[in-house]
């Protein structure tokens, strides 16, 4: 039987974490994501599944707790918001370098600096291009509903363990705080069936000792390690996810993810009602990015517009995919302000529909 609930996006992530059989959550309070740990603490997951939830002294500590536990093969996660995620970048780089699976949730707020607590998508670059030091990538999932907030927890761990790589759910205060109906996933056992040969749980006589490290003082070895990582990131393309809305006959295309995609869905609806052939491509994974799909669509549409709550970050990836075939524009609000469907529609009319 379906188990339905009315929940905030942040609460859905917490509930889904318990149900996904997560072993440990380590976090630090920050608006607008504090509900994640609050919900977890209230639920007594140590009684429900044996899951450990610990409030750390800082985001720096929480990401390093994740690093330690992930090295033992456990399913572990943290969540934070933009300034906290910035603090975690060193740890995330170590986790990527040491090839450890884990889940990180960024409920983005407007920046830079302390910025605002209102929703934003200005952390796109940080999330998809590495974020910390060194050549590395995270698997980046972009939920656009409370349902996807819940679903992407398990998906994030599945991909993280498949590639031994950190996965990031990139969302914002809008989806995190919004209440929607959500179908809760079934309770999973707290067991891991993936390859455990590399984990550190104590050296037994039947194997060599295991070492979790991102250190390689010999440049040749570090070079080889980097090539291996790049190969892995390339392979992630097979797990690209996106949704096409009214794309089949579209003459103009909006590209948007997360909360901005929800707004753009309305834009498409209004435009279609007026007989305008507008479509929406919604990336569900931002890394890997739906480059091939966008490139194919660029052969038959007249133009594209990346609609983001930022000064124009994803638009760069759209332009790389389109590679000059058609004009690519950006439209977006900054610093915690949200565009209305009418704002976007007026920009669409200005850029695309002037000749109608």
């Amino acid at each position: 039987m379906k188990e339905l609930a009315l929940m905030k996006g942040n609460e859905a992530i917490a509930e889904a974490a318990i149900r996904a059989g997560v072993d440990g959550y380590f976090g630090y309070p920050i608006t607008p994501q504090s509900e994640v740990m609050e919900y977890l603490m209230l639920q007594k997951p140590e009684e429900r599944t044996g899951m450990v939830v610990l409030q750390a002294e800082s985001e720096v500590a929480s990401i390093n707790m994740v690093y330690g536990a992930a090295g033992t093969g456990k399913k572990v996660m943290t969540s934070s918001s933009s300034p906290g995620i910035s603090l975690m970048q060193e740890g995330i780089s170590y986790i990527a370098g040491a090839e450890l699976p884990c889940l990180i949730v960024n409920v983005v707020r407007g920046g830079p600096g302390l910025g605002t607590i209102q929703p934003s998508q200005a952390d796109y670059f940080q999330s998809t291009k590495g974020g910390g030091h060194g050549d590395y990538r995270l698997i980046v999932l972009a939920p656009a509903s409370v349902q996807e907030m819940a679903d992407y927890v398990d998906l994030g761990f599945e991909l993280a363990f498949k590639y031994r790589n950190p996965a990031l759910i990139l969302t914002d205060g809008l989806i995190g705080q919004m209440m929607e109906k959500v179908e809760l996933p079934a309770q999973k056992e707290r067991t891991n069936k993936f390859d455990q040969s590399w984990v550190i749980t104590g050296k037994t006589e039947d194997r060599e000792r295991n070492i979790i490290t991102s250190l390689n003082l010999v440049a040749d070895l570090q070079y080889e390690h980097n090539l291996k990582l790049q190969e892995k990131y390339k392979k992630m393309e097979e797990d690209v996810m996106f949704e096409k809305i009214e794309c089949d006959d579209a003459e103009f295309l909006l590209i948007a993810y997360g909360s901005s995609a929800r707004i753009c869905q309305k834009v498409v609806e209004i435009a279609r009602g007026r007989g305008k052939k507008i479509g929406l491509l919604r990336p569900q994974t931002l890394f890997p990015f739906p480059t091939v799909a966008i490139s194919k669509l660029a052969r038959r549409v007249k133009g594209m517009m990346s609609v983001e709550l930022s000064a124009g970050q994803m638009v760069e990836d759209v332009k790389l995919a389109v590679n000059g075939k058609v004009p690519v524009y950006h439209y977006g609000m900054l610093g915690g302000k949200i565009h209305s469907p009418e704002d976007v529609l007026s920009e669409v009319e200005d850029k695309f529909l002037g000749g109608y």
Partner: protein
């Protein structure tokens, strides 16, 4: 008597623990790290807990400790070992988890993680090697560098007024309720080596009995960083380091030693 008659298995009174690997130590000749490594591995061997022990080696001279200790280990970012150890121990309550940290790591960049892991009473063991200098990066001033002591970033000697005085972090964490056992030891002579080994054994026993955090500071030399011969550095350590960082137990069975 011929030498071959003396070197026989039945005459063996001491041998290197098999829990130290064959890798050549990367430490400078004369440095105390090698001895501390050996003592920890001897205790792990004697307690028969190799398959249950996980070590953490953060940034510093001992960043490559996992090359020498034949146990499962995790490298850690600079200063973050107590957080990494917390993450492991919380999910593996029955494993033995220890960190092996230098003074810069534990008492400067990792102060927050150190204090909070101690305050939560994480059931782990912290080995803290204090040689009053950043050895790995070439002899810069550490949080524990003595007043007037020269280093590459205090070339005219540490000035307490402008650089702050050396920090006694071991005395700072000792009163915290979660901390069960705190002691300060050295490994420059056979006597102190024997005492250090007893302390290491006690620390692991405390962890086994789940009594809380155990913390051992080893005041050690850095002959390269101090620019002395190994012997001179040990004499200098006794004359200057020991008065400021006095040897002995600071907290036993959860009670401060007066």
């Amino acid at each position: 008597m011929d030498i071959k008659e003396i070197i026989r298995p039945d005459n063996l009174v001491y041998k290197r623990t098999p829990l130290l690997t064959d890798a050549t130590l990367s430490y400078c000749p004369g440095c105390g790290h090698g001895t501390i490594h050996r003592l920890i591995m001897e205790v792990v061997e004697e307690m028969g807990i190799q398959s249950e022990t996980i070590g953490i080696a953060p940034v510093g001279c001992s960043v490559l400790a996992y090359e020498f200790m034949d146990i499962d280990m995790s490298q850690a970012a600079h200063g973050r070992a107590p957080a990494v150890a917390t993450g492991i121990k919380r999910l593996w309550e029955d494993k033995f988890v220890f960190t092996y940290q230098g003074d810069g790591d534990l008492a400067a960049i990792g102060t927050g993680e150190t204090i909070h892991a101690c305050n939560r009473g994480e059931n782990i063991t912290i080995f803290f090697v204090n040689n009053g200098i950043y050895g790995m990066t070439g002899g810069q001033m550490a949080p524990t560098t003595l007043e007037g002591m020269k280093s590459s970033t205090s070339p005219y000697g540490r000035n307490n007024k402008t650089m702050g005085p050396p920090i006694k972090i071991t005395e700072m964490i000792a009163p915290l309720p979660g901390v069960h056992y705190v002691t300060r030891q050295a490994v420059h002579k056979p006597g102190p080596v024997r005492k250090s080994k007893k302390a290491i054994r006690k620390a692991f026993e405390v962890q086994k009995e789940k009594k809380g955090l155990s913390f051992i500071e080893f005041v050690s030399n850095c002959n390269s960083g101090w620019k002395m011969t190994p012997n001179d550095s040990n004499i200098w350590m006794e004359e200057h380091m020991f008065p400021f960082y006095p040897m002995g137990d600071i907290k036993v069975d959860g009670k401060l030693v007066k």
